[in-house]
Symmetry: C2
Subunit: 115 residues, 2 copies
DNA sequence: TACATTAGTGCACATAAATGCATATGTCAA
DNA sequence: TTGACATATGCATTTATGTGCACTAATGTA
């Protein structure tokens, strides 16, 4: 067990890495479908993605923007089209970071959490 | 790169492990505060947790139920009190599972996602 | 038994989020 | 330059979620 100050620091670091926007973005079925599509089909433009989704094109466009802001997708404007693709690097780093910090935090600050 | 059938199977496995309830639960500031409190203070009853939160006791109670349903917290009824604690084991396993499947899925099904 | 304590539920309300239509913005092509 | 196309934005509507008050259920205590 750490000192109280060290405990607080570790917990604050964990909580500040629990990106609300990141979790909220992943907690919506429509956006998960978009993520699935992009893993399956790779880099695609808004129109192509929309064709596979039940929602309106404008709705899909907004979902894509949110996912981009959350760091899950890349966005590249090319002439008239905007291509989105999974930002695998950032996405995986985010997940790894959250997982590692959680493990570290619980083992150091709350061993009783794992009894 | 895998066969198309294998790709679909891997992607479906990933998406089915992207537990919407889990992500939604973590994507709310009030619930994150509760998580923080429980890591810091360990197993506590509803009243004690509520005292540190700005929301009404009933609101905190509902958040705790949600977090329990999402597998993040343990719940133990003892006489009049209900004690909640972080389910570290399940929480960490969930995060590790999601992280591992995502890495595996992207490397096998969408290597271009990491360019 | 009567009363206090603890947690959860019913309900109404406020806020936030998802959705679709119409329209604007920017880009290409004839 | 005109028209078609791709995407994003404004706006209104619906749906979902968070919130607090009042009340109930369950348990312990005087």
């Amino acid at each position: 067990m750490e000192t109280e100050e060290e405990k607080k620091r570790i917990i604050d670091e964990l909580i500040s890495n629990f990106d609300l926007k990141f979790f909220r973005t992943l907690g919506e079925p429509g956006r998960l479908e978009i993520l699935k599509f992009l893993i399956q089909n790779g880099r695609s433009d808004v129109g192509t993605i929309s064709e596979s989704m039940p929602q309106d094109r404008s709705v899909v466009s907004r979902h894509l923007q949110l996912m981009h802001e959350a760091g899950i997708l890349n966005s590249e404007k090319e002439t008239r089209h905007v291509f989105y693709s999974v930002n695998g690097q950032h996405f995986i780093e985010k997940l790894e970071g959250i997982t590692a910090l959680t493990k570290q935090c619980i083992s150091k600050c709350c061993p009783s959490c794992c009894e």
